[in-house]
Amino acid sequence: MNLLAAALAPVHQQYLLAARQMQALSFAVHIPLVCFGISFPLMVLFVEWLGQRTGDPVYRTLARRWSRIVVALFAVGVITGTILSFEMGLLWPNFTATFGSVFGLGFAIEGFSFFLEAIFIGIYIYGWDRLSPRAHLASGIPVVLTGFTGSLMVIAVNAWMNHPGGFHLRGGQVVDVNPLKALFGNSFLWSELIHMYIAGYMVTGFLVAGAYAFGRLRNSRPFTRYERVALVIPLTIACVAAPVQVLVGDWVAREVAIKQPVKLAAIEGLYKTTRGAPEHLLGWYTDGQVKYGIEIPHLLSLLAFHSWNATVKGLQTVPPSQRPPINVTRLSFQTMVGIGTLLALLGVIYLAVWVRRKQIPAWRWFDAAVVLAGPAATVALIAGWVTTEVGRQPWVVYRVMPTSAAVTGAGGIPVGYGTLVVTYVALAFAVAWILRRLARMPLDLPDGGGTAPATSPQAA
């Protein structure tokens, strides 16, 4: 056994950057779909439950409409997720060959989650009108649970890559492997998981709400009770989640500060180890400092360690070959935080208006902001992943295996990358097309407009 892992020796790969970009593209396409998988089924079930409780046909119609979106996006998520699992071998065979025994279990359990999700989505979607209402509602519950466990497993693997443990390396071989400890005994996991989980609700909530806010702005069809319900539920979720995400983000940042000081230094562009380190807004890192940025004294120490004069380690603590790309990490972090702050503000406004007037904001600018919030939240989501993944470079397994040692020796990466770009552009058009088609299908409400009062069960 000892001879063999060495046989998968690192090779020189001319197109390492292309391989990394191909992986990044695959993640960027898949992650927004994951958000829908995490959060949308629960929203659909909630609306269906409201319908069963009240007998109001509006809810049932909405739940049914949304469930079609769930299944269309799940189908696309199945394939983009399959591509990711292929790429574990196609792009990074040495990573998988060396550490498969450590992290692989996470994906095996994720596979089961995925399985159950697929089974019960099938039952839920095709079970409308075929199962009793109670059984139908119950068939959706495993979809919600497996959406959570699936993301738990994937984040567990990612957290392990960022903060590896549960094994020892001896002569390039993993020994003393404890997969459970590697995956779940990792303190880095929980902050990352909660951060992603809330992001899932924000992205889905704002995107779905944005579609109905857009309809209200355009005024192309009357904004009936149906549309209001469809706006209020996802918007409330997103607006409650957005301010909380700021608090969770603070927790994540402190974890990073302790466990990945070099990533933190890259996030700020801090070259020298500094006591009472400042933070720069915007700007560009060059020659060991941030230029053209707005300096806020002590902010980095304050954010990372909650202390005015805490010492923050700089990039100088590691040789240049062990530093991540600074500007990509910095700017993606600032994009995430900037958008996240604006979204939290939007959420606070929404909650404040509710507290004062007991109604949701009806200003046009607010609707416009909600329309923009969906794409913005998606950008923030991807920027956050860029921060953590690029910020981990040059390591695939933090301070254990460099990415360059994980990559495949096979040729043709640019061809594969180009093909995948073309395929995913086509897929994006296809998804946009199907969502437009679904949006235009007529509603099967008794009076077409959903103005029926809440308490008229006979209308169903």
Partner: protein, 407 residues
């Protein structure tokens, strides 16, 4: 023993992928070969509706195979995936096409759009089984050495054995699909569809058998050690089972006993995979045995426990899905469920707003204190819980009022 147990899971997953997802791809092929006019449309619609509720679950078997392989036999996985990257990538593209065509079919309105979507599905159905077949051919004919892309980028999968197994995979898919679709046609009571798929099943069955038997000649010349393994011992025994099951399936289809034919057809495929395993065991790749490739002991134990525990949940769930589907509950004109029972109005569900709001603020403050001020792990855990409770409570305070009546 423990070393080989995950291999049994992988092979079982492969068989299930071949007989379930294979049938799905086969349905795509029949959509292409459905013919013109209304009858052709009926064939395509039937192929789609039969597969729609189950296709996603069927495809997850491939994920299962991949994840168990890289966890239990990491070196093997890395070697195979790097040398055979081209056909694996092609298979992945085919899977994208398959999923996209499924998602798109929900939105089509004109016949032209429908044809375009069905054609995409059909192309996927050709590419994916063929490409995966060539992967197995490359492994089985000793063309994948241990190492990072150590084999040839093209001849590892463009060779007589690979092309044979690729063709066999396509033919098998078409065959399985025709058998299953004929059985489904009986259930929905469509005599003309039943006849159409019966004819197709017989044709595809004969073709598959011919490729399989003729392929032995190819293996004799191109992959002699595999051939030798196949014609001796346990491998030979299961190959005979495969031939018998294949013949029995033809007889069952011919006499319109499609439900039983489903299982004998699946058995024939399973026996071929088992034959391959017996012919090669314990060698995975040249110079790499199962024992050498196996992950450390603790990983194998955890994996086996996880797979068994997962299976305990998975199989009843799959059973439920298949029994509902095969029982006709999901057919386009199946029996409706019971009508909805009525329940109290929404107003009754509202929490007392003033008290609830105070409690929400308290949860928020507690959450901030424990998560953002405190630094102990236990405090963080409680803090996060408080924040989640805060979010749920605020949602419960706002939504019932905001959606109810004409507020």
């Amino acid at each position: 023993m423990l070393d080989a147990l995950p291999l049994v899971f992988v092979l079982a997953g492969l068989v299930l992928y071949a007989v379930l997802a294979g049938a799905d791809f086969g349905a795509g092929l029949w959509q292409l070969a459905g013919g013109r006019g209304e009858h052709g449309d009926a064939i395509r619609d039937h192929a789609h509706h039969s597969m729609a509720p189950v296709w996603e679950a069927n495809h997850v078997w491939l994920i299962f195979v991949l994840t168990v392989t890289w966890t239990a036999y990491p070196t093997y996985f890395g070697s195979v995936a790097s040398t055979l990257s081209v056909p694996l990538f092609l298979a992945a593209l085919g899977i994208i096409l398959r999923g996209a065509s499924y998602a798109l079919r929900a939105g089509v309105s004109t016949r032209r759009q429908l044809r375009a979507v069905d054609s995409a599905f059909a192309v996927a159905s050709l590419i994916t089984p063929f490409a995966l077949g060539t992967v197995i051919g490359g492994i089985a004919s000793n063309r994948v050495p241990v190492g990072n892309a150590a084999g040839h980028l093209f001849s590892s999968w463009l060779n007589p054995t690979s092309i044979l197994i690729g063709a066999l995979a396509v033919a098998t898919s078409a065959y399985l699909a025709a058998v299953y679709l004929a059985a489904d046609a009986v259930r929905v009571g469509e005599r003309s569809l039943q006849d159409a798929f019966r004819t197709r099943a017989l044709g595809a069955g004969v073709a598959t058998g011919a490729i399989a038997l003729g392929g032995l000649v190819v293996l004799h010349g191109d992959a002699h050690s595999l051939f030798e393994g196949l014609v001796h011992g346990a491998a030979l025994a299961v190959l005979i089972v495969s031939v018998l099951a294949g013949g029995a399936t033809l007889a069952l289809v011919s006499s319109r006993r499609f439900a039983a034919a489903r299982y004998s057809a699946a058995l024939a495929v399973a026996a071929v995979v088992a034959g391959w395993a017996f012919a090669r065991y314990p060698v995975l790749l040249p110079g790499l045995t199962v024992r050498q490739a196996a992950a450390p002991h603790d990983t194998l134990v955890t994996l086996v426990v996880a797979v068994i525990a997962g299976g305990v949940i998975l199989f009843p769930s799959l059973g439920l899905l298949f029994s509902l589907t095969l029982g006709g509950r999901f057919d386009p004109h199946g029996p409706p469920g019971e009508p909805s029972a009525e329940a109290p109005a929404l107003q009754a569900m509202m929490a007392g707003p003033a008290l609830g709001a105070r409690f929400a603020v308290a949860l928020l403050i507690a959450g901030i204190g424990l998560l953002n001020v405190a630094s102990a792990a236990w405090a963080h855990a409680i803090g996060v819980t408080c924040l989640f409770a805060f979010m749920v409570l605020v949602f419960a305070l706002i939504v019932p009022r905001a959606v109810a009546g004409d507020a």
